[in-house]
């Protein structure tokens, strides 16, 4: 019972953090929310996986946040996120999108649970929330940091669900390497953009 309550709390945290990542334009808040999000995801992953293997995901996630944070810290403030000007960028619009994802999650979770019994409502809900917000995040941005955050969020959602059906050490390891690779490549792309901007300024 207590475990279930904690799991629902983890789902709540996931909803809050993914909303924060999606709505906020301040990279510090986004990365902070991602850090907390990895804790909630870790909890949901360990519902179906041993603690040690689950902790791989937590540690990897935090390493990614550290890599992105340190890189972003060294960049000039002018490098702040530039969203896609074509799409509405207001916070209310984004909040509506999150609400839509939450509603879809509420509708779909029982159906998935009946199709794949034993996953657990919390695991499915947490996973779908992350996948949904990650995908809309990806759809609404062409900014490097936001795209990486969207990808990481989507992957985390998938990992929660996949951990319930596949607990191979190799897969856990390869997923960790993939996540870490995304974080490092994200840092590289941020640096690349900044080096180009600096070169232009010097001209």
């Amino acid at each position: 019972m207590i475990l279930d309550i904690i799991s629902w709390a983890a789902v709540g945290i996931i909803l809050a953090t993914s909303t924060a990542i999606f709505i906020n334009r301040d990279w510090r808040i986004s990365l902070g929310a991602l850090t907390v999000q990895y804790i909630a995801a870790f909890w949901l992953v360990t519902r179906h996986m041993p603690f040690v293997m689950g902790s791989v995901k937590l540690i990897t996630g935090w390493m990614i946040v550290a890599a992105l944070g340190i890189t972003r810290l060294g960049l000039p403030a002018a490098e702040d996120q530039q969203g896609n000007a074509f799409l509405p960028r207001g916070q209310w619009f984004r909040l509506m999108l999150i609400l839509l994802v939450a509603l879809v999650t509420v509708g779909v979770t029982p159906r998935i649970e009946s199709a794949i019994p034993g996953l657990g409502w919390q695991v499915i809900a947490g996973s779908l929330l992350l996948i949904g917000t990650g995908l809309i995040h990806l759809g609404m941005t062409s900014d490097t940091l936001n795209a990486i955050l969207g990808l990481l969020t989507t992957l985390t959602g998938f990992e929660i669900l996949y951990a319930a059906v596949e607990s191979s050490i190799l897969v856990t390891g390869l997923l960790a390497v993939t996540n870490l690779g995304l974080g490092i490549v994200g840092s590289y792309l941020l640096l690349a953009g900044s080096a180009a901007a600096e070169a232009e300024e010097e001209r």
Binding site: A115, L138, L151, S168, T178
Partner: protein, 465 residues
């Protein structure tokens, strides 16, 4: 020693070493030599078979265990590895002449070794993860540190990464479908998720928009390498799926869906190529058209699926290498590669322009060139299909031909009294000349590929039976 160590671990380690420790000018030579040696080794030494050399008996064992799962390369994989590393050697030797960033060879070797691991890993489903890792590793290859990443790069990374969860999850669902084949809704769901995964991975319409963007933003040689390497292994991975799951292989609906996707890629790729004013983007659309032909071949229900697919794959590597090298040489003179800037370059870079035109002709399936025999085989397959399929394939290839005519017109549009010049270096001329010669050789004597591809159907137990 085991095959995965030779063809996965060693090239990865060499790539890593080249990336961090070696003098940059030497890396194309060393990387190319390593790839060539690995190719020859695969050709000479059969895997998992004892070979007597005088008094010494050599046997390369097929598999190793890694974190509880196995990586296995079998006897049937030998020719495939030889082809892949042989073509990779070609790309690496051309690096110096293309002027591409020196880490190309190091990262290229690591990418090829990861892609080789994708055909070796068991369960084969986990290949999706290795393909994604290869795509991630390709990013520093495409974006130099001094260049702001464009939207094409971000989309490439996004699509390749999104493919992995779809494929992994569909694989898990397919296992369930196999145990209860009557569950129609589960079958449809698994098929849809799998289709989405491969649409992201291969770049099926509308998920191929990153390809022309990438050709515009990144170095043509690095992009060309990626357009060769990733689809090659993705197609092998997809064939593995068809081979593994009975219902995928026997479902007429899925076969139709694959064929329609292929036809749409061929037709739209050709149409868009004919409308471009950027010779890099034209190459991108030509690669899309070629991938469409591969998808179309995979959707065929004949016994010749595997042969046709591999017949298409081998010349593709050479065509893209020659095209990308020629583009890289021209890019030094005309950075944007737009029609306005490449006007009249035929007189200043006659060899690069000739090689580019030959590679383009080969992709349209022009007789006597490398692309012709596989297209002939595909036409033969299409002869048994409804006529509209042949029409749309013809339409796509015609689009490529129109793009070629426009490119050629721009290249020869020199100002009056402009003299001929030879601005390519000797090394560039030799590489382009060899590539062009290869296009003719593969076109006139396609039977030289026979020893390589004759055993490839053995890679798949059920396809083509």
């Amino acid at each position: 020693m085991s095959a995965p160590i030779i063809w996965i671990a060693i090239p990865f380690a060499v790539g890593f070493f080249l990336l961090f420790f070696l003098h940059k000018r030497l890396s194309p030579l060393i990387g190319g030599a390593v790839a060539a040696i690995l190719s020859l080794t695969a050709l000479i030494f059969p895997i998992d078979t004892a070979l007597l050399l005088g008094a010494i008996s050599i046997k390369i064992s097929a598999s190793i265990q890694f974190f509880g799962r196995s990586f296995a390369l079998n006897t049937a994989d030998g020719p495939l590895i030889a082809i892949v590393y042989g073509l990779a050697a070609l790309w690496f030797f051309g690096t110096e002449t293309s002027g591409t960033a020196n880490r190309f060879v190091a990262l290229g070797l690591m990418i090829v070794s990861l892609l080789t691991a994708s055909i070796a890993v068991e369960p084969f489903l986990f290949a999706a993860l290795l393909l994604d890792m290869a795509a991630i590793l390709a990013i520093p290859l495409l974006v130099p540190i001094y260049q702001k990443p464009g939207r094409g790069i971000i989309r490439f990374l996004t699509y390749q990464t999104l493919a992995m969860p779809f494929i992994l999850f569909s694989g898990w669902m397919l296992a369930g479908v196999e145990s209860s084949p009557g569950a129609i809704s589960a079958t449809v769901q698994a098929g849809t998720i799998l289709g989405l995964g491969f649409a992201f991975l291969v770049g099926i319409f509308p998920f191929y928009n990153w390809i022309p963007m990438l050709m515009e933003e990144a170095a043509p040689y690095a992009s060309g390498f990626l357009l060769w390497a990733l689809p090659t292994f993705t197609v092998i991975f997809a064939l593995g799926f068809l081979d593994r799951y009975v219902w995928l292989r026997t479902s007429p609906q899925l076969s139709n869906a694959i064929q329609y996707a292929g036809i749409f890629m061929v037709a739209s790729g050709g149409l868009f190529a004919s409308q471009q004013k950027h010779i890099g983007r034209i190459m991108g659309y030509a690669a899309i058209t070629e991938t469409g032909l591969l998808v179309l071949a995979m959707g065929g229900r004949s016994a010749e699926i595997v042969n046709t697919v591999f017949l298409l794959l081998i010349p593709r590597g050479l065509e893209l290498a020659v095209w990308a090298l020629a583009l890289s040489i021209l890019k030094r003179r005309a950075y944007s590669l737009r029609f306005g800037e490449v006007k009249g370059l035929a007189r200043k870079y006659p060899i690069a322009v000739s090689a580019l035109i030959l590679a383009h002709l080969s992709m349209t399936g022009f007789p006597l060139l490398a692309g012709f025999p596989p297209r002939l085989a595909l036409w033969q397959e299409l002869a048994g299909q409804p006529i509209y399929m042949s029409f749309w394939v013809f339409f796509g290839l015609l689009g490529l031909l129109v793009a070629l005519a426009r490119t050629l017109a721009v290249f020869v549009m020199a100002e009056e009294n402009t003299g001929w010049a030879w601005n390519e270096t000797w090394a560039q001329s030799v590489m382009l000349g060899l590539g062009a010669l290869g296009l003719f050789v593969l076109g006139i004597f396609p039977q030289i590929l026979q020893p390589l591809i004759v055993n490839l159907p053995a890679l798949f137990n059920h396809l083509g039976l």
